[in-house]
């Protein structure tokens, strides 16, 4: 038995789709309250790694641990379902395309999971939803449907929905990539607020400025491996690896 002293521990993560190896032996530790950014070009495996953490895309090899418990442990189907559902309640996830439930109001979107999964009354769940929506500045829209919201507002509701489960860890997969430029900032503000509250976060992003301002550590991924990792001022401004420099140069050219 090895000791697991880190809050999040990814050990030798490996993932293949048939002959295509998407993650090649990736290890990563994240401490409580840390914010880790993941950057890299399209297809490098960022989403796959993030989605392996809550087992949405199961790994083909390696282990994921959260707070001393293995997330992807091997159990008989029924027990595994129970285990993974309990683990996922502790891991919030925010998607590029929001994935709000279109048939529910904003309130219902946020209150549904706590109502079903936590031992609280309907009133308490609605109260919780209101608090979380207030936190992301969306309380006035509590009775709206997702289709009546802007992209930025949708993403803020999606963040509130994840936070309502009181997760230990939040995963963001390009939370602002689908947004019109003028709506990016309102979502970034919410994420910064979470950072100030010491939420542990792993953030896949294409926004280098944002990564530089909130992340404690940045990983650059390419072709399924972590090429470079370190504080943002090093990885983003003074990288030691040629591939990182090339990626950043292309990124700046592409952005301007």
């Amino acid at each position: 038995m090895t000791e697991h002293t880190h809050f999040v521990e990814i050990r030798h993560a490996q993932k293949s789709y048939g002959a295509l190896e998407v993650l090649k032996d990736i290890s990563l530790n994240v401490e409580r309250g840390q914010i880790v950014g993941i950057i890299g070009s399209s297809g490098s495996g960022k989403s796959t790694l993030l989605r392996a953490i809550n087992d949405l895309d199961p790994l083909t090899g390696g282990e994921v641990w959260l707070d001393g418990i293995q997330v992807n442990k091997s159990l008989p189907h029924r027990q595994y379902e129970k285990h993974i559902n309990a683990m996922r309640q502790q891991i919030g996830m925010v998607f590029q395309h929001f994935n709000l439930f279109p048939h529910m109001t904003v309130r219902e979107n946020v209150a549904m999971a706590p109502k079903l999964l936590k031992e609280i009354s309907k009133e308490e769940a609605n109260q919780l939803a209101a608090e979380q929506l207030d936190h992301v500045g969306m309380l006035e829209r509590i009775d709206y449907y997702p289709s009546q919201l802007s992209g930025g507002q949708k993403q803020r509701v999606a963040i509130a929905r994840a936070l309502a489960m009181k997760p230990k860890l939040m995963l963001f997969d390009e939370a602002t990539s689908a947004l019109d430029p003028e709506l990016v900032e309102e979502v970034n503000q919410v994420m910064k607020k979470l950072a100030e509250e010491h939420m542990t976060m792993i953030i896949v992003t294409h926004e280098m400025d944002f990564a530089a301002s909130v992340c404690d550590r940045v990983l650059f991924m390419d072709k399924g491996v972590v090429v470079e990792e370190g504080p943002p001022e090093v990885v983003l401004e003074n990288p030691s690896q040629k591939r990182t420099r090339e990626f950043l140069r292309k990124h700046i050219e592409g952005a301007s």
Binding site: N54, L56, E81, N85, A86, R88, Q89, I91, G92, M93, F95, H97, N99, L100, F101, P102, H103, M112, A113, L116, L117, Y145, S147, Q148, A158, R161, A162, M165
Partner: protein
């Protein structure tokens, strides 16, 4: 055209139309149950269950409904299934309609964006909670119109049970032809009543679709 005769027999046709409506309602109910079960089977995690679902669809869509009715009603007694004509009609047509509805419902469910399931599972919802809280409510809304098409076909298919002597609209028309020798008038009357039933059903489906549609 013998309008006077049509007016005279009209009350009997109206009574028969109610049998057609009853037959349609029961068939639709049974079809929906079979369709939900069939679609669940088609989407099961177990390959054997998926196979059974696919086999159900192939068999019942791959043979004429009339043959299915004949096997059930005339062949049934040979293997110990005793049904009166009406029962055989409902069961035969219901199982047949269920095969079509299986594919309709399955299509509705798989058309729901994958991200919906992922978002729900990420929150910690179980497979089943995800299905009934997130997937089915959305699929049900999408399914009103396509199931309305199934319903339209099913109502017309009830005419087949005339072949096993259920006294519904088509059978009634045939019977009155025997005594009046006026096939044009009798079939026209039946046709008009079918059209009214189908028109009303179509309006109902359109109303329901508007009501449940998300904005």
């Amino acid at each position: 055209m013998d309008i006077e005769l049509m007016l005279k027999v009209y009350p009997f046709f109206l009574k028969a139309a109610w049998i057609t409506i009853l037959l349609s309602v029961l068939t639709a109910g049974l079809g929906l149950i079979c369709g939900i079960l069939g679609a669940s089977a088609r989407l099961s995690r177990f390959s054997i269950v998926r196979f059974l679902g696919a086999a159900y669809v192939s068999v019942f869509r791959g043979t004429p409904a009339l043959i299915q009715l004949f096997i059930l009603y005339f062949g049934g007694p040979q293997i110990g299934i005793q049904l009166d004509a009406f029962e055989a009609g409902v069961i035969g047509l219901g199982i047949n309609a269920g095969a079509y509805m299986t594919e309709t419902i399955r299509g509705g469910i798989i058309s729901i964006d994958r991200g919906q399931r992922e978002a729900a599972r990420t929150l910690g919802l179980s497979r089943w909670q995800t299905t009934y809280k997130v997937i089915l409510p959305q699929a049900a809304r999408l399914l009103v119109r396509p199931l309305g098409v199934n319903l339209n076909m099913l109502i017309k298919a009830t005419a087949l049970v005339a072949a096993i002597s259920v006294i519904e609209l088509t059978y009634t028309a045939q019977r009155y032809i025997g005594s009046t020798y006026k096939p044009f008038e009798m079939f026209l009357l039946a046709g008009v009543l079918y059209m009214i039933i189908i028109y009303a059903t179509g309006r109902g489906v359109a109303w329901l679709d508007r009501k449940v549609r998300i904005n």
